[in-house]
């Protein structure tokens, strides 16, 4: 086992640091000319702040040390493997961070004259085109700020489609497999749809009989990811697409798992109408501890209303970059007459988009296909290493190769000695590895959904498998020990119940102080 030890989390809260009167940043004095001319500050008394905010007072060095120390009690891909399934935690090439931080991008106001941002618009225009080619779609819109935001853009477009076709009153349902990400049903509900869940079959594909039994008049659309969260390619995809289209329903592709098929198959060729991509998964942008992301949507275009000449892509929300032949200028086109509208005020999340641009530019088609090949290779390598290991099994799709991820189950271990997927996760942390996604997908009990991506070394994957075997050994010889894990992380197991207890729950320092004063029970 790795001799891992994370920095202890001894760093005090920032409110406990510093000293009265200290400042970390010098604000310039207003110029005399301004002071003389303006006189005093004349805010109406009803709106004048009378006390400074209760913020800490620190010098510059104290701020730097505080956050540097905090960073040492955090863990990212830069520290080691983060094989969270369906999260595609690949290495984030720093060349893109450098370019995205260029002042010629960072300092652009979103409402600045288009003629003064031609370089950026050209980049975004090309990115739209490249993503369309990668997905086999016609139009890509870079507007959504995250995967779930892209899903919302997609389901709102589905809604608009049925609205324009005057059939919204009967098109009320979105069908979603039980293996789907939680954002899928949540997005469908936000767009006002009813969610119909369908089961997966033993081979990991969608249960076709179940699907056929629910598709009908009321079906507005279907949201699926392919490969699925089980890491399995949906073999009936063409049949599914045909079935849905026969009922005038839209098929939506959740692009979270594109890393498993890029360069081998394209959503557009599989019959999907709308897809979202996660630039912060497939295209090398970092997750930033939870965001920012970028979740462009791509659309396979078709005529929705031939009289009014409305295309499916006209219904999508957001801005897009167009090239104006007559002036030779790139322009930003806002949502048109038939569009769903806007999902955020401005264009999109430029930093991750630039990251995606630099990534695709660097890889080229050959590189992207290779990315997928190695992502799939390392998944199957890991699966092989984990076959027939006591305590674990690999449910669904027996004998099938996986794509971007594989779902192990710790159920045998749980049933036999009471050691759970969570315990296994903590045992991995103790070896200096991040844990897989646990308890997901919901259809696998004690799930360990594992996705290494092509950027992991085979040696680390071997060590990871070794550690999983070691955990199993300990579980069977001393089942109470795993309950004491983790020990090598900055803190031991966190009290989540207390964190949520109505008498203790402390979402801010302010609540802590107010509770001490008896103002909050």
């Amino acid at each position: 086992m790795n001799r891992f030890r994370q920095a202890r989390n001894w760093e005090p809260l920032i409110f406990e640091l510093g000293s009265k009167g200290r400042i970390g940043f010098l604000v310039p004095e207003p110029e005399d000319a301004a002071k003389k001319r303006v006189g005093s500050i004349d805010i109406p008394p009803e709106m004048k702040r009378t006390r400074d905010p209760e913020l800490p007072e620190l010098s510059e060095v104290e701020v730097v040390r505080h956050f540097t120390n905090l960073s040492q009690a955090a863990y990212g891909v830069d520290n080691g493997p983060v094989p969270l399934g369906s999260c595609t935690m690949k290495y984030n090439p720093r060349i893109a961070w450098e370019i995205a931080g260029d002042p010629r991008i960072v300092n652009l106001h979103p409402l600045q004259d288009e003629r003064t941002v031609q370089g950026l618009l050209e980049i975004l225009y090309e990115l739209q085109k490249w993503l369309a080619n990668i997905t086999g779609m016609d139009t890509c819109i870079l507007h959504p700020a995250a995967g779930a935001h892209g899903e919302l853009a997609g389901v709102l477009t589905i809604r608009r489609y049925h609205e324009v076709k005057n059939q919204l009153d009967k098109k009320t349902d979105i069908i979603i497999p039980d293996s789907a990400h939680g954002t899928n049903p949540a997005s469908a509900a936000m767009a006002g749809f009813r969610v119909i869940e369908i089961p997966s079959a033993e081979d990991g594909n969608i249960d076709m009989e179940a699907l056929k039994s629910v598709v009908g008049e009321s079906t507005a659309g279907l949201m699926i990811t392919n490969p699925s969260t089980l890491g399995l390619f949906e073999e009936h995809i063409l049949e599914i697409a045909e079935l849905l289209h026969k009922h005038d329903a839209i098929i939506y592709y959740d692009g979270a798992n594109l890393n498993g098929i890029m360069g081998y198959a394209r959503p557009g060729d599989m019959g999907f109408d709308i897809a979202h991509l996660n630039i912060h998964k497939t295209f090398g942008a970092p997750h930033g501890g939870g965001g920012p992301g970028a979740g462009p949507i791509c659309i396979k275009d078709r005529v929705v209303d031939s009289e009014k000449n409305i295309m499916l892509s006209d219904l999508a929300p957001g801005y897009r970059v167009v090239y104006d032949e007559s002036t030779g200028l790139y322009r930003v086109k806002g949502p048109g007459e038939y569009s769903t509208g806007l999902l955020k005020a401005f264009f999109g999340n430029i930093t991750p988009l630039i990251w995606g641009y630099v990534y695709i530019l660097s890889m080229g088609p050959q590189g992207l296909r290779r990315v997928t090949e190695h992502a799939v290779l390392i998944t199957n390598y890991f699966m092989k290493l984990m076959e027939n290991v006591k305590g674990y099994n690999i449910p669904y799709g027996r004998g099938r190769f996986r794509k971007h991820e594989v779902v192990l189950s710790a159920q045998p271990m749980t049933d036999e000695v009471g050691v759970t997927a969570e315990d296994v996760a903590k045992g991995l942390l103790d070896a200096g590895f991040y844990a897989p996604t646990i308890y997901f997908p919901l259809i696998v009990k004690e799930a360990l959904m594992t996705e290494f991506t092509e950027t992991e070394t085979p040696e680390n994957v071997e060590k990871y498998a070794e550690r999983l075997k070691e955990i199993s050994k300990i579980a069977y010889s001393n089942p109470s020990e795993p309950k004491t894990w983790p020990r090598n992380t900055s803190v031991g197991r966190v009290d989540v119940l207390k964190a949520n207890h109505p008498k203790h729950v402390t979402p801010t320092w302010r609540v802590h102080v107010r509770r001490m004063r008896g103002e909050i029970q």
């Binding site: 301004a34 001319r37 936000m190 930033g288 920012p292 092509e454 031991g492």
Partner: protein, 480 residues
Amino acid sequence: MKPLFVYWVVETRPHPWIPGSTEESLKKMLDVIGVKSITELFNDIPREVLLGEDEWNRLEIGVGRPLSEIEAKEIVDEKLAKNRVFNPPPFMGGGVYPHYVPPIVKYIISRGEFLTAYTPYQAEISQGLMQAIFEYQSMMAELLEMDIVNASMYDWSSSIAEAVLMAFRVRKGRRKILLPANMNPLHKRVVETYVKPHGLKLETIPYDRELGTVDVEALKSMIDNDTAAVYIQYPNFFGIVEDKAKAIGEIAHEKQALFITGVYPVALGILKPPGELDADIAVGEGQSLGLGMNYGGPHLGIFAIKYDMNLVRQMPGRIIGLTTTIDGGDKAFAMVWQAREQHIRREKATSNICTNEALMAVAAAVYMALLGRTGFRRLAELIYYRAHYAASRISEIGLRRVFKAEFFNEFPISFNEAGVKYSVIHEKLLEHGLHGGLYIGGYYPELGETALYAFTELHSVKAIDRLIEVLGKVIREVGR
């Protein structure tokens, strides 16, 4: 850019971002799996959709071949040279402002432990990240004087939209929201998009044409028992301090409607915080707290509420809470109230948000820590002086502010009296190397040739003098 369609390259060199791409690693893995080539692993893809290597490599993706870092950078550099960077920065706001970003902010968020981390699902190994986000929530709570702040939304506009949807859940059965005409018109479009599928009503409260403030009398006549919430923005889209903000909140509360306020956090150095106005929900844009304008993102959607379990249960987004380890020995952080979120509740969740703007929240935390207790007041005062200096000087060149009420750092300037289209002025300013304000006559046709000018700590008196000089010259040349 012209891709090299003529031929495609077979790439066999090991790639720096793919450690397994050496011949040795490749062979080892294939042997263990028991296949001869990688392509066998894709055998389950139906032939009808399986792409040939040749077919794929001919697609226009990048320049059609892999590039080294050096080559890629050269290509991007060439494009970025076509962007124009203004010094002083554009005199432009409208919800996004050119502010100074202390280098420490970038330094901290560039640390790989933060930058390359996922959402902290494994708490014990992610405590530093969770503490940083908790501190963002906590410092933001002090600036706003609100109790609970979430870990972030996408931007200001999506925060308002989520606040509005939340208000409908909290005040179940009510079907109307009142939004002011003097809020950011782009924000309003976003709210419309979010609300539309639910068949709920948005009504617009007019503004006072002379003052630029919310028309309180109109509000009184519009609000009723069907109203779930009243939203105001301060400073409003015209930059004006809404001096009746507190009274508007009282009117909302009289009808048991929620009071939602949208803020520009830098202004809170001198303006009353939402908590003191008794707002139920406060939203805003955190871009001004150490983030670049980035042509519109990533920004930072602020979302805060007061401590009330009826609100908590309906709040969207992730929240980090302070707790201890199970043995009680250490302070620790955990995600709280997760039963509201999509990964647990699926279609019954309070929102579909998952990925948010966490790194931007950490940036804002660093920024707020640097400014500290007195920094916000000093910064807001500086900005106030600069903007009011500019307002005073424009009268010397025959221009006027459109509205009479007190403002913070931006104000619409009317060019109607000068008898010149704003586009002409804008063009002339560009010729002189300046980027002027935002034309708002499109959003508010009644204002005609009007542009919204904004000033921050990056617009010195010297820069403002130059703007006035050029504007004056242009007006003399092209005005009537």
